[in-house]
Structures are given as structure tokens and as C-alpha cells.
């Protein structure tokens, strides 16, 4: 009886352990202001549809592995891409466009149309 209870309990407990999202409060979450993010919200609805949580950066080393440090907004981490398809997960209005990285080279990043 106690073993049955324990097994049932473990099954119920394990339900809540799934993965959630590829964005978070640091990079990529929707936002209206900085309270919605760990550091700052890029809220321009044209350049960042729905808002975009990001962090200040001075090099790619300041950004997570799938983001790049670009010379926008005083240095911001944005998702890198190769085609528009790579940016679809961010929602409507996001495209893969060229931008200058923090060193002056051209890179492709997801940004609003």
C-alpha cells in the first residue's frame, strides 16, 4: 500500500518537470518595459515586434550561444539567423536582416521589418 502511494506520488510529481521555452527573461521574452526582463526591454514595436528582452553587450562573449552582439541600441544581444525561417519563432513581423556587429562586421540577425 505504501509503495503504491509512493509510486503514484512520484508520477504526479514528475508531471511538472518538462521543458518550457527557448526564450527567457534575459533574451527573447516579450516585454512592455524593463520590469518584464532581467535587464532591459527593446520595446520599439517596429524594430522589435511584441518587445524583446535583451542585455547590453560589448562582445559576443556577453551574449548567449545563439545570440550575437550587434551595434544597435548601444550594444544588444539579438538572435542570429540565416533565413527568415530562423526568426519565425519570434512571431509575426520578425525577419532575418543584416546588421553590423559590435566589431563592425556584417552579421545576420532577427529584427522587425
Amino acid at each position: 500500500m505504501w509503495a503504491t502511494l509512493l509510486v503514484t506520488f512520484v508520477i504526479v510529481a514528475s508531471v511538472g518537470c518538462g521543458a518550457s521555452s527557448n526564450v527567457d527573461r534575459e533574451i527573447g521574452a516579450r516585454c512592455d518595459n524593463s520590469d518584464d526582463c532581467n535587464e532591459r526591454c527593446l520595446a520599439d514595436p517596429v524594430d522589435y515586434p511584441g518587445g524583446f528582452c535583451s542585455v547590453f553587450c560589448e562582445s559576443d562573449g556577453d551574449c548567449s550561444s545563439d545570440t550575437l552582439c550587434v551595434a544597435l541600441e548601444g550594444g544588444a544581444c539579438l538572435f542570429g539567423c540565416a533565413t527568415n525561417t530562423d526568426c519565425e519563432f519570434l512571431g509575426q513581423g520578425w525577419l532575418c536582416v543584416a546588421a553590423a556587429d559590435i566589431g563592425g562586421s556584417q552579421v545576420m540577425i532577427c529584427r522587425g521589418s
Binding site: 504526479v12 510529481a13 518550457s20 527573461r25 521574452a29 516585454c31 528582452c53 512571431g91
Partner: protein, 218 residues
Amino acid sequence: MPRQLVIALALLFAPGVALAQPGGSIEETTGDGDDELDASGGDELDAAAGQEIGGALGFEAGGRVSPGGLQLTGYHMFRLSDVDWLESSVAFTVGGAGGACFRDRQDVVICDHGLVNGLAGEVAIGIRRFLADYRQDRFIPFARVGVGARFVNFSTDEVRGVAIPAIIGGGVRARLTHQFALSAGATARAGIAFMNKGLGAQPHFTFSIQFAAEFALE
């Protein structure tokens, strides 16, 4: 299903109910292993009052939308039999603040709080069973099952709700005098929480350890 439930409850509680019958005793109902109780003298100490109160200090670990932190618990126990006690409790968990919720790109709110974030207030009721067969002198292990209702709050994110967890745990109690005992134990909670901010029904899971002082009521 109702028949299975009745059988399950009968199996769970039948031994304890048998011990509670008038004139019954541990010696009469639990077999050879209980001879040791008399030799140890611990049985005499446990023949105390039918009610006890206790206070516990512990640490609860949560995560996501389950709070964690320092946990204070007060409880009352009512003896049902030689081994089973009805345990009702009030507990408060106080953890740290800090935002951990965000909106993903589909505008769905996701919370990923750490182990020791948030606040919780809980009332719970359950059965504590002392495992007399495993007694060692003054030390006697116990197991408990129950159900609780918790108010959960993460103030920074303005996320709150009500959780209904099943509670399962166990520990060891050392009776020091007729009126006083110390115990240490661990408890896990698993259930469902109904949260605001569009989170809806969420899994609720925590694990805690506690150290308690228990007093018999004459």
C-alpha cells in the same frame, strides 16, 4: 473504483484501528517483534496523552510556481490508535523575492522561480503512523500521508494562487520525557496549483526537511 478505494483505505488503516480497540495493546496485536518494546522502556514513555502539539522549523525547496524557503509549522496530533495519529497543521514558507516570470513569444506566461522563492501559507490534515516494528529504544520512525491547501504568492511577479498538494513524508521521533519529544523528518508535496496571470493549472511540487519539538497534552 469506489470498491478499490474502500479496500485501499481498509488495508491502510486496519492495523491501526485494531490497535485502538478497547483492551488492545501492542503486545496483543503486532506479533513477536514487539517484545522488545517492553525491554526498552520506550513503550512506557509513549503511553502518554491522546493529544500532542508540535512546532517545526525547516527548509522547503520549490521551483517554477512552487514556493520554497524557510518553513515554520505548527501542528496538533490526536491519537487514533497505538500507532496512528490524526495530524492537522498550519505551515508558512518564506522565500526570497525576485522576478522569474516572463511572456514567451506566443504571449504565454512562464514562471521559472528558483528553489527558495515565494511565500506559502498552508493548512493540512493527514495521518501519521508510528512504525513500532522498527523502534530502537527511544527512537521510533514514522510515516505520514495527507492533503493540504496552500495559498501561494510570488509578489514581484504578482503571481499567486491556491495549491492542493498530496503530502507524503516520514521521519524519526525521539521521546525524551512523557511530555516532550524531538523529531526530524522530510516531506514531499505534489499536486496541482491554480494560478493567476493566465498560468491556470500548474504542477505543484516541493520537498522539505523539518526539525520539531512535540509536547503531550495531559
